[in-house]
């Protein structure tokens, strides 16, 4: 993968920031902060922002980890044991279209407004991409692989661990990437609705106090955080799936 420095992209961002600043100077109102004011607010509030995004990342991380630990084995099991999968899948299809945010009230009733409620909602919403991709990936694996497993006289659990998991990994990781993005998104929204602390709460508070520059600074922090997490996941993916990319590379000539 060739990584070129994206000059037009960067230039466009700078131009946008300049236009924004220009309009802000023209409008000259505290309700329309310019780019510079937002950066000032960002550094003025940097410790608070760092602490709040820390809470958010922690919740998103725990919720995501919970979903991964429970749903990955479950998905492989459902993909491998057909009868079980057929039984459970309609239920998954039944609850999946529910927007994850609709789970916030349920979580509130059962867990209150503490950490547990937010982590539950994050785990719930991160579960589906992992679960569905795991099921699909195991089912879609090359039929030869099952034959090999049988020839090697592997037990069912061994088959799942040594054959299904690696074979399904590329697609599962696609699901995991989606789940990571969703975790962060839902963590922020859950904090906005069940406010105690975290960056979502910070945003809600900035609105109540009419601190628009701070609100925009908070958004900037979330965007940068999401970008960083995304790159981190990509880096891990490239490492874990090196064998897979190497094989793809042999077929494609790009």
């Amino acid at each position: 993968m060739k990584k070129r420095f994206n000059l037009p992209g960067l230039a466009f961002l700078v131009v946008l920031a300049l236009i924004w600043q220009g309009i802000a100077i023209l409008v000259d109102s505290p309700n329309f902060p310019g780019f510079v004011q937002v950066i000032v607010a960002l550094f003025h509030d940097d410790t608070t922002l760092a602490i709040e995004i820390g809470y958010t990342l922690e919740r998103a991380g725990i919720g995501f980890a919970l979903a991964l630990v429970v749903m990955l084995p479950f998905g492989i099991l459902l993909g491998r044991v057909r009868a079980l999968g057929d039984l459970v899948e309609p239920v998954i299809e039944f609850v999946r279209p529910l927007p994850p945010i609709a789970m916030v009230p349920v979580a509130m009733i059962f867990f209150g407004t503490g950490d547990a409620a937010k982590i539950f909602v994050v785990a719930w919403s991160a579960s589906f991409p992992i679960l569905i991709n795991a099921i699909e990936a195991v089912r879609g694996a090359h039929p030869m692989l099952s034959t090999v497993a049988r020839a090697l006289r592997l037990s069912r659990v061994e088959t799942m661990w040594h054959i299904d998991l690696p074979a399904a990994l590329p697609q599962i990781i696609a699901g995991i990437r989606l789940a990571v993005a969703i975790s962060l998104l839902i963590a922020v929204v859950a904090e906005m609705l069940l406010s105690t602390n975290g960056i979502g709460m910070y945003l809600a508070r900035a609105q109540e106090r009419f601190e628009i520059a701070n609100g925009l600074a908070g958004l900037l922090v979330i965007a940068l955080g999401a970008l960083a997490v995304n790159y981190g996941v990509l880096a891990i993916e490239r490492k874990v799936l090196r064998w897979h990319h190497a094989r793809i590379g042999m077929h494609a000539k790009a």
Partner: protein, 255 residues
Amino acid sequence: MIWAKRVVSILLFLLLWELVALSGIVPTEYFPTVPVIGRALAGLVVSLEFLGELAVTWERTLVGLLLSIALGLVLAIVAARYETVRRMLEPLVEMLRGLPPPALVPLSIFAFGLGVKLYFFIIIFAAIWPVYISAANALSAPEPVQVLTGRAFGCSVWEILLRLSLPAAMPEIFTGIRLAAGVALLADVAAEMLAGNGGLGHLLYDAAFTLRTADMFAIMLVVGLSGLILNLLVAASRRFFIGWHVQLAAMGEKT
């Protein structure tokens, strides 16, 4: 056959729910039994007020989704035509895509008030990226044979893009639209929960806060069904617009 299995599975799920509710592991006022939820749902469905709120959510979601599709497609076509535009937008798109759309609600209230513009903005912000990204990717990598054929017929660059590459990219674009539809409903319900001012999200939040749990679960069911129906609508329009592709793909496969 497949339907029978589905029905059995859903019935088992309801049975499990009923058992949990009756067992008293969780207080029944928090976890109502199936008939209670069913009655709440029936009560909602016949009330004009509820149907009005349902229509509000659907209207916002559908109009917002259509706007996202239109904007995303136009942007993608321009980006596919001019490589520089594509590269210009790249970091901006990456950054904006990472923002949870509901996080924009507080500041957007300042900009748009509580009117319909607020919801459209949030929905577009959420749903435009899947459309733009799938369309830009598909349009920027056209089949060389198609482009060469177009050129041999003396088509201009724009003609090739709009009359050859765009139809060829439709299947991929519809994948993006399908994603966008789900995201649009999600963003709308979230915005309604945060900003209030009507819609299913507002009702849901209200029901939860006043501990009307049966109503809450019933509304959740309606939201879920709305998502399902929206998905079916996208699938139907996909068949309408690109049925030719489905037939071609079926011919290619040996199902």
